[in-house]
């Protein structure tokens, strides 16, 4: 099959590309960033998914499958840029999929869109509303992108659309939202709160995306690894020092004292858990995680 991966230069997207290449698929990629040492048989088009050359890739190469991984978080871009890439980019990619006869599209999204709130259920199923739109306004563009991708399910039933909501990815690749949070020696906590954190290993996340392609999944699916662990266990397991901060002082300490910079909305996500129920995905694909929480944390620490 001819598979196009958007945002192919992300470290997890590269892993997906290499795995699919090894399976004998033809791999195309779109990314603004160059991938100088890409294998010769992966064809990377250095362009923006929202630009004309990206549409040309769809028109001229006619991929069978598209894996959309060109989304970004508050760690790498400002609000307007995020909205352009996450929402408008997703919209254009889906439009191209429809227009140029793509058979299957996989949107790789995040579980954080469910949002952390004191009165939310611990385990979120796929039909839970995305509270992040109010609890963490900096994620609004990702919420919109996720819901927009999901709308392809009824707008274009002939296009097999899978919307994945992956828990935090952590491991030796050291990339992703949680890896950014744990980048420094110190990690903030809100005094008196120790929420459960749900994360999975790089390899498991890649495996889940590949299984989605293999099983031609249609629908919205939560994807998770081992059972969640408290933030205090996570910081200890990754060799970080947890700094408990009284909530009213939180906004004044982020980005200072060796703590990571976080938008104000992040306080909710350090205070309350976001944990997902991945039963539907496991039933549909037979996916089982290979790396437990201990291995993931050690992999990140030593990676």
């Amino acid at each position: 099959m001819k598979i196009l991966i958007t945002g192919i230069n992300g470290s997890h997207a590269r892993m997906v590309a290499l795995r699919l290449l090894a399976q004998g698929h033809e791999i195309l990629g779109i990314d603004r960033r160059p991938w100088p040492d890409a294998p010769p048989n992966i064809h990377v088009f250095q362009t923006d998914v929202r630009k004309r050359p990206a549409a040309d890739v769809f028109r001229l190469h006619r991929p069978d499958v598209v894996i959309h991984m060109a989304t970004i978080t508050h760690y790498s871009a400002r609000a307007e840029e995020r909205l352009r890439i996450n929402l408008h980019g997703t919209r254009l990619v889906l439009d191209h999929c429809h227009e140029y006869g793509v058979k299957q599209v996989v949107f790789v999204g995040r579980h954080t869109i469910y949002g952390a709130a004191p009165d939310a259920p611990l385990y979120r199923t796929e039909d839970e509303p995305p509270l992040a739109v109010t609890t963490f306004p900096e994620l609004a563009d990702l919420v919109a992108a996720d819901l927009y991708a999901g709308s392809a399910l009824w707008r274009w039933p002939e296009l097999k659309t899978a919307v994945l909501r992956l828990v935090y990815i952590l491991g030796p690749a050291r990339r992703g939202t949680l890896a950014n949070f744990l980048e420094g020696k110190r990690a903030p906590m809100i005094l008196g709160f120790d929420p459960l954190y749900h994360f999975m290993h790089d390899e498991d996340a890649v495996e889940a995306i590949i299984r989605t392609v293999d099983h031609q999944l249609t629908g919205v699916f939560n994807v998770a690894g081992p059972p969640p662990v408290p933030l205090s266990v996570l910081t200890r397991g990754t060799g970080r020092q947890a700094i408990p901060i009284p909530e009213p002082l939180f906004r004044y300490t982020v980005g200072r004292f060796g703590l990571p910079f976080l938008p104000p909305g992040a306080a909710m996500h350090i205070k309350h858990p976001i944990v997902v129920d991945n039963t539907a995905f496991r039933n549909a694909t037979g996916f089982e995680y290979q790396y437990d929480a201990h291995e993931i944390m050690r992999g990140f620490r030593d990676g």
Partner: protein, 299 residues
């Protein structure tokens, strides 16, 4: 440094934790965030209250299923949810093997630092239908107080008078096919007699009420308490029945709890009359005695 877990956890608790029906992983955590470590400290604290402060005696423990789901439905009293703590302790210290029970905590407590963290680590999750259904489908025991905060905050003059029961618990029991185990908690009303509600103080901390006993400090007195478990009640249905049918089922549960309360209060009077003698004699073999005691109800 902090004292080691084994040093702050009693030997009885450590031994019982090993036999508890929870799937702890290598971090001593279960999938709902219950921590063996926190549970040990929590139970050690409850042990003092269960065995020595309230000197709780449990009757009808044979009605608790050894495995699988069950919904414990209780009257609520005492200003602070000490009754919930004692029911948890009862199933941990007087049942063999012990069983963990999940309570449904008022949602306002989730915003309180430390307290919410502890509630979550010992399996007391916010009171959401999603939690109840998931826990029961997972074969856990659930503890519900259908009176809610109305029951907890009731005044001493209304003691043991059951206030309005919601129907939510019954719909969940029907939907999940869970047996309902009615129970009566006796002694809580006398231990913490609420004579007055401090409304401003309650609003300040975001609680639905702030109980004030005659001695002002909202803390229960060391008076003896009993728990009477009734026979499991099975109801057939889907949970989508019209209100009048579900309310009929709720009334059945309520009337059994009323019976248990009436019977329990009679026993309580006897115990108080001969309190000292009685307590000394059964301290050593409390758990044996409570299991052997006659069933609490006949229906």
């Amino acid at each position: 440094m902090w004292p080691r877990f084994e040093q702050v956890t009693s030997r009885d608790v450590l031994e019982r934790l090993e036999r508890l029906d929870l799937p702890f992983n290598q971090f001593g955590m279960d999938p709902y965030g219950v921590s063996k470590h926190h549970l040990g400290i929590f139970m050690t604290m409850l042990e003092v209250f269960y065995k020595h402060y309230f000197r709780v005696r449990s009757f009808g423990l044979e009605h608790i299923p050894k495995t699988g789901p069950g919904m414990l439905v209780s009257n609520h009293s005492g200003g602070i949810p000490a009754d919930g703590g004692m029911i948890i302790a009862s199933l941990f210290f007087s049942l063999d093997p012990p069983r963990a029970v999940h309570g449904m905590v008022e949602k306002f407590a989730q915003e309180w630092p430390f307290i919410s963290q502890w509630f979550n680590r010992v399996g007391q999750l916010p009171g959401l239908p999603e939690h109840a259904i998931r826990l029961l489908r997972d074969g856990r025991l659930l503890m519900v107080f259908p009176e809610g905060a109305r029951g907890l905050g009731k005044l001493y003059k209304d003691r043991y008078h059951l206030s309005h029961f919601g129907t939510g618990f019954m719909r969940i029991a029907l939907q999940t096919g869970t047996p309902v185990i009615p129970l009566a908690f006796i002694g809580g009303e006398e231990a913490m007699p609420t004579v007055f509600h401090a409304e401003r103080l309650a609003r300040l901390v975001g609680a639905p009420y702030w109980p004030v006993p005659p001695y002002l400090l909202p803390f229960p007195l060391p008076l003896g308490c009993e728990i009477h478990y009734g026979k499991p009640m099975h109801f057939e249905g889907t949970g989508d029945e019209p209100d009048d049918i579900v309310e009929g089922y709720v009334e059945q549960v309520k009337s059994v709890i009323n019976l248990l309360v009436a019977r329990g209060r009679a026993i309580h009077q006897q115990r108080r009359a001969g309190a000292d003698l009685d307590d000394k004699s059964d301290k050593s073999d409390r758990s044996d005695k409570s299991v052997k005691s006659e069933p609490a109800t006949k229906s």
